[in-house]
């Protein structure tokens, strides 16, 4: 609700330094309480719409805030907007009722249920609260403006309070200062004024009245000194008062919104109680807000100061009390000032006052204003379900019975909606609430069910349970890109987890090791329509980051299709069973054939007018002609996600998102289904090597070791050939690294020669489903060199890595080369080296995440309001042109083929 937000702002920032005005388009701008829908509707009464008709419209017509004005509150303004003068530090009387003129005065708004606000007459939650004020016995400096006051005092004459710039230089100074402000901001301008004055100083005399000047210094946070004499806030205020408006303007303030004397407060605005609500503990005790505590201190000291002044107490006592008042007012605004001890609770924990409320990530602006909480959402653990469609989300029944969709009753759906009310909140599909046209919400219970059904008529809203096909927005944090929040169709399922098709794991970056995800149910027609059109899974197939598919087959689906496309022949029954399981009912494409191959089965899913030419991971051609896979095997390059899967992208280009997502689902299912039939599993035996391979590998590693030993010997003799620009030591390191890497890659070649499709670990690797040849090498042949920052491990002891090696030992073994494989088992030294790099990798991740997160936040903040205008230019919020044409050609990456228009394909198509 806009009005809630508004009052929070105006109370908090307004108290300290800014007034916010709600400029309503029609009425006077200064309406304290923002008006909600009802009077707005009434204003339209004279138009052709009848009042009845307008009132029957359920949607509120909100007023639009067109601008927010910032300014410093003047004492006059504070009095004007206040509805109570606060005189006593007491909060409640014996009965627990708020004291008149106390800080919890009912004229400042209500926080207790049952009470009515004395200012506006409304109840809790309706009344947004009203300001009050305290008359301060002596003026007090506002900390946040102390710096400004200091600069102003130094820039103006102590006698005549004119800005000490000679009248003749006025014009020149003005243009100079304005230029500085434009280029470097208001703070730079204030500094620049100082330079002008110091430069044009007439021997320390004012150019206007020729009075001799004394340097004013500031003793932080709020004390001003002239030579060794303290200037009291009264005097400060008097001087500031005398500065003429023109001088202030030249100096760089807007005298209409910020007269300098307002920065020395004679009156303190008291924020409404709704800003500082007290909480009642279980014991019945009241616990007041930090702000109330602070205000209590201020009022108490203020009272004492008044009494002492009236009683004619000695100056010292008054000064002391005055300083104390200054301290309390200062900490009321900011309790984390370096020079002041923070005000604390009795428990010793510092109070959270206005500044602390606003700033930082947990502050009002970033926590409550730039990000908000929502209703109608759910969060639980996710689990995979390849049986539901890619654009569906499985919602557990328990959740479906808590989340609701509002449906407005009309003549035609009355009977339909009555059924939901009849079922009530306990039976599915039922409903939880009914909303009357006047906005009253009524809970449906077993008892009230019948009465509610009777009452139901057009205009009522039934909040019915979530059902299959409803629109939901699904999200996983961190929401790094727009594919982290997509629109799915609800599918209500038994169980207790949210289900999603494994094909969409990539965009969400989800796995099922305990990940949780969030589900949001949009509540209005507009939001549902927008979610469906802009956010649905099929619209997000192509990533705007690189113009390739992000959603594709993963893991078993890839290895399944890979194996299937290699099957030479299978019984026709089996082929039909496969297709039937996938949801194909038309078998005409395979029945005519004598021999059915895996390729034929796969082809049955591809449209018959589709042509494709691509490559498999091994570089062999993959050809589809007229919807028939003629050559090659299917792997990640064709159907994978995340920037691979060219086949998918071409399907998308030719048939659109709708059909692609269906085909993708079928292809996905086909892969899994094939594995169901043929069986697929990997085990430790997959890492077994034949003895001849083992021998070859051992030979290779031994050879590498000998070579390295030779290099080291050469180095020690000083005969090693040096690379240009390197020392001999560096050259040695580079050569050793190269040699050892060569050895490990050699292992890879040997292994490749011995694996085949019988080896299921190899199938996963070759099809690109999971793992890499490197991981197979590490498991079965040799783990290899452990590198830190691109070098062999050299840290540890002086001249050696572990105490079991000799000083200066450069051999592979002593510098982190792991000769064994994971399956053979690694020895303690090797284990230690692996632990080193493992720890380094963990550190790297831990340090990188916040760094890149901050970079991202800055980028997003700087660029969030850039948009493409109707003329094709990219502009920022103030209309400044950033690019004349987006990306120099105006092409949307998500609609292009990897950021390009494929001219070659078009030309080829023409031939």
């Amino acid at each position: 609700m806009p009005r809630k937000k508004k009052d929070v702002e105006s109370q908090e920032s307004g108290q300290s330094e800014a007034v916010e005005q709600v400029e309503t388009p029609k009425e006077a701008p200064q309406e304290a309480a923002p008006v909600d829908a009802v009077p707005e509707v009434k204003q339209l009464d004279k138009t052709q719409f009848s009042r009845e008709r307008m009132e029957s419209i359920q949607h509120y017509v909100y007023k639009q805030v067109s601008s927010v004005v910032f300014g410093v509150l003047s004492p006059k303004m504070i009095k004007k907007m206040a509805s109570a003068k606060i005189v006593t530090p007491e909060l409640y009387d014996k009965e627990g009722y708020p004291v008149d003129g106390g800080l919890m005065d009912v004229r400042l708004g209500v926080i207790d249920p049952g009470l009515r606000c004395k200012t506006c007459g409304s109840k809790l939650k309706e009344c947004i609260g009203h300001f009050g004020y305290i008359e301060l016995a002596r003026p007090v400096i506002h900390v946040k403006f102390a710096r400004i006051i200091h600069l102003l005092l130094r820039a103006t004459c102590k006698e005549c309070s004119r800005l000490m710039i000679h009248p003749d230089k006025w014009g020149k100074a003005k243009s100079h200062l304005e230029k500085i402000e434009r280029e470097e901001g208001p703070e730079a301008r204030r500094i620049a004024v100082k330079a002008l004055i110091e430069g044009g100083r007439l021997g320390g005399k004012c150019p206007h009245c020729k009075a001799k000047q004394v340097k004013v210094s500031i003793e932080k946070p709020t004390t001003f000194m002239e030579a060794d004499r303290r200037i009291s806030p009264i005097e400060v205020r008097a001087r500031l008062e005398k500065i003429p408006d023109e001088d202030i303007e030249l100096w760089g303030l807007n005298p209409k919104t910020a007269r300098p004397e307002w920065m020395v407060m004679t009156i303190l605005a008291i924020p409404p109680v709704t800003v500082r609500p007290s909480i009642t503990l279980e014991t019945g005790e009241r616990s007041e807000d930090d702000l109330t505590h602070k205000l209590g201190d201020i009022v108490r000291i203020n009272q004492r100061l008044f009494e002492n002044i009236n009683a004619g107490a000695p100056e010292i006592i008054i000064e002391d009390l005055w300083d104390l008042l200054q301290y309390h007012v200062t900490t009321f605004f900011d309790n984390s000032i370096a020079q002041l001890p923070p005000a604390r609770h009795r428990s010793g924990q510092p109070l959270k006052t206005i500044t602390e409320r606003i700033k930082s990530k947990e502050g009002r602006i970033r926590h409550n204003l730039a990000g908000k909480r929502t209703n109608f959402c759910a969060r639980t653990v996710i689990s995979p379900d390849p049986m539901i469609a890619i654009d569906e989300v499985g919602v557990p029944k328990v959740i479906a019975m808590k989340l609701t969709v509002p449906e407005t009753v009309n003549e035609w759906n009355m009977a339909y909606l009555k059924k939901f009310v009849q079922n009530g909140p306990t039976a599915y599909p039922g409903s939880n609430y009914v909303v009357r046209p006047d906005g009253k919400k009524k809970r449906i219970t077993e008892e009230t069910k019948e009465a509610t059904i009777e009452e139901l008529q057009p205009g009522y809203v039934v909040e019915r349970h979530l059902m299959d096909g409803d629109i939901a927005i699904f999200n996983r944090q961190p929401s790094l890109h727009r594919m982290s929040m997509m629109c799915h169709k609800v599918r209500v399922l038994p169980g207790r987890t949210l289900r999603l098709n494994p094909a969409v794991c990539n965009p969400y970056n989800a796995d099922f090791d305990g990940d949780e995800m969030n589900l949001h149910i949009p509540q209005t027609e507009e939001s549902r329509a927008e979610a469906e059109i802009l956010m649905e899974v099929q619209t997000q197939l192509i990533s705007p980051r690189y113009g390739l598919s992000v959603i594709g087959c993963i893991q078993d689906a890839i290895s399944g299709n890979y194996l299937l496309s290699k099957v030479k022949e299978m019984p026709i029954e089996r082929a039909c069973a496969l297709l039937a399981a996938v949801g194909v009912t038309d078998f005409s494409r395979i029945t005519g054939k004598k021999k059915v191959s895996g390729k034929d089965v796969f082809s049955a899913l591809i449209p018959q007018d589709f042509d494709y030419q691509g490559q498999s991971r091994t570089g062999e051609p993959v050809v589809i002609k007229k919807g028939q896979l003629v050559e090659g095997t299917i792997d990640t390059k064709a159907i994978g996600g995340e920037g691979e899967g060219l086949l998918l992208r071409n399907l998308h280009k030719q048939y659109g998102p709708e059909r692609t997502i269906k085909m993708l689902h079928q292809i996905f299912r086909l892969g899994i289904e094939h594995l169901f039939h043929s069986g697929f599993s990997t085990g430790i035996a997959d890492e077994d090597l034949p003895s001849e391979a083992r021998e070859q590998i051992d030979q290779l590693l031994r050879q590498a070791e000998e070579d390295v030993a030779q290099m080291i010997a050469l180095f020690q003799k000083g005969e090693l050939e040096v690379f240009p620009g390197r020392t001999m030591r560096e050259t040695l390191e580079l050569k050793i690294l190269e040699r050892l890497n060569k050895a490990r890659n050699g292992c890879g070649q040997i292994i490749k020669g011995f694996v085949n499709d019988e080896n299921q670990a190899a199938v996963m690797i070759l099809s690109g489903a999971r793992g890499s040849i490197l991981s197979l090498i590490q498991m079965s042949a040799c783990v290899g060199q452990q590198a830190m920052r691109g070098k062999r491990i050299e840290k540890g002891y002086r001249g050696r890595t572990l105490s079991c090696f000799k000083d200066g030992d450069l051999s592979p073994e002593a510098r982190g080369f792991i000769m064994h494989s994971f399956k053979q088992g690694i020895n303690p030294k090797e284990f230690f080296f692996q632990a080193i790099t493992g720890r380094d990798a963990l550190m790297d991740t831990a340090l990188r995440t916040p760094k890149s997160g901050y970079l991202y936040r800055r980028l997003a903040n700087a660029m969030q309001d850039l948009k493409v205008e109707y003329d094709g230019t990219v502009r920022d919020a103030s209309g400044r042109i950033i690019q004349f044409s987006y990306g120099e050609d105006g092409v949307d990456v998500a609609r292009s083929e990897s950021g390009k228009i494929n001219v070659k394909r078009i030309v080829d198509g023409e031939e």
């Binding site: 920032s13 330094e17 800014a18 805030v65 067109s66 601008s67 927010v68 004005v69 910032f70 946040k144 403006f145 901001g185 208001p186 760089g252 303030l253 209409k256 606003i358 700033k359 602006i365 730039a370 790094l480 802009l534 705007p544 980051r545 113009g547 390739l548 920037g643 240009p724 390197r726 691109g790 790297d844 340090l847 890149s852 970079l855 991202y856 800055r858 980028l859 997003a860 700087a862 660029m863 969030q864 309001d865 948009k867 493409v868 109707y870 990219v874 919020a877 950033i882 690019q883 987006y886 990306g887 120099e888 050609d889 092409v891 949307d892 990897s898 001219v903 030309v907 198509g909 023409e910």
Partner: protein, 376 residues
């Protein structure tokens, strides 16, 4: 350009037209161009699209996958240059001094064929007095230092003791008197304080080692490299302005990775291109895929004001017109106070302010509104 393509000149980007002309047979130019136009129109970006945020996402998201502390290690003869996430942060911050400044110097013929490349390199490398002196003779009695030069090094650099003396005279003027004596120089200490001469003499010895003699200031290391069939020089340390004064340098291709320097010497447009190239190179070497358009947009926001502004609260963000947008980024209190002093008005034109007030944001579907005629 082929006459068949002329009618498409206004409608298609030049790059596409060139591609069409290169790929399609002349007879089918028109037909192909028409089809390309069709696809091009379909691929056009929609008005109102929040391209800024998409670009931010596209660079921010792979940021989490980039490695920290990576040093470029491709090839043996390359220099170690900061890469990876730290480099990206460095560029986007618009930092004035970068951690590993480096130039890639292309040379004019015949230097680029490898002839006299060593001499060229030596001319570029900054030489300090300490590099050419072979012997320091401390004369404690007279409080002077006698410098003997390494004849070989001087010859290589084409210097004479007299010339060196002239160069170092000024920077040492406050401490010593320089005099040429035969093959060497004598530095006579100017005594400021009585009795502390010995100390000052030793300090002078250390100080004079660091005095600039010849070459380009700031270039600490040079490395001639052969790339394809051309020789070029890679340096550690960067000073484009001074380098361009040398006549054997091919100024059209020589670059540095210091973006501010490019901006100063070659202008913002060049700096913009440098940002794009540098960021793209880092992303590429990390094996990530980000479309060039996103990087372009970032580079354009950084340079749109005519000078390089970092993506920081002092740079791009401080330029925003909206108080609330600035306040929502960093240091909210400061922004609100300054706004109050100036009596600023926030007209709620951008995204965050409207999010704060629960109003529709002026991008995408929030952009269009209905206009109706007022009844009289």
């Amino acid at each position: 350009m082929h006459k068949d393509l002329e009618e498409f000149q206004e409608k298609l980007p030049l790059k596409l037209l060139d591609e069409i002309e290169a790929l399609a047979p002349a007879s089918k130019l028109k037909k192909v161009a028409k089809k390309v136009l069709e696809e091009y129109e379909a691929a056009r970006i929609d008005a109102g699209e929040a391209v800024g945020l998409i670009s931010a996402e596209s660079i921010g998201e792979p940021g989490t996958q980039m490695t920290l502390n990576t040093f470029h290690y491709a090839g043996v003869a390359e220099m170690n240059v900061t890469m990876g996430l730290p480099r990206i942060i460095e560029i986007l911050d618009g930092r004035k001094s970068i951690s590993t400044p480096s130039m890639e110097i292309f040379l004019k013929s015949p230097y680029n064929k490898g002839e006299k490349i060593r001499e060229a390199a030596l001319q570029i490398k900054e030489t300090k007095l300490g590099d050419v002196v072979s012997e320091y003779g401390m004369n404690i009695v007279d409080l002077k230092i006698e410098l003997k030069f390494s004849a070989e090094r001087i010859k290589e650099l084409g210097l004479t003791p007299a010339a060196i003396g002239k160069v170092i005279e000024k920077p040492l003027a406050s401490d010593a008197q320089v005099k040429v004596e035969g093959d060497g120089l004598t530095l006579r200490l100017k005594e400021k304080e009585e009795g502390r001469g010995l100390n000052a003499l030793y300090r002078l010895k250390e100080k004079c080692k660091e005095v600039y003699v010849s070459g380009i200031k700031g270039v600490r290391q040079v490395l001639p490299v052969k790339r394809k069939d051309e020789y070029l020089i890679i340096t550690f340390g960067s000073n484009l302005k001074k380098l361009f004064e040398l006549d054997f340098v091919d100024t059209t291709r020589t670059t540095t990775n210091d973006i501010h320097e490019i901006s100063e010497v070659l202008g913002v447009e060049a700096a913009r291109q440098a940002i794009i190239d540098e960021v793209f190179r880092v992303i590429e070497t990390q094996g990530l895929d980000v479309d060039i358009r996103h990087i372009m947009l970032v580079a354009d926001t950084m340079t749109a004001s005519g000078e390089i502004k970092g993506i920081t609260r002092y740079g791009v963000v401080s330029e925003k017109a909206s108080v609330l947008a600035r306040a929502s980024f960093e240091t909210p209190i400061k922004h609100v106070i300054n706004a109050a002093l100036k009596g600023e008005v926030d007209t709620l034109n951008s995204v965050v302010e409207n999010v704060m007030l629960n109003q529709t944001v002026p991008v995408g579907t929030g952009l269009p509104s209905l206009v109706s005629k007022k009844e009289k």
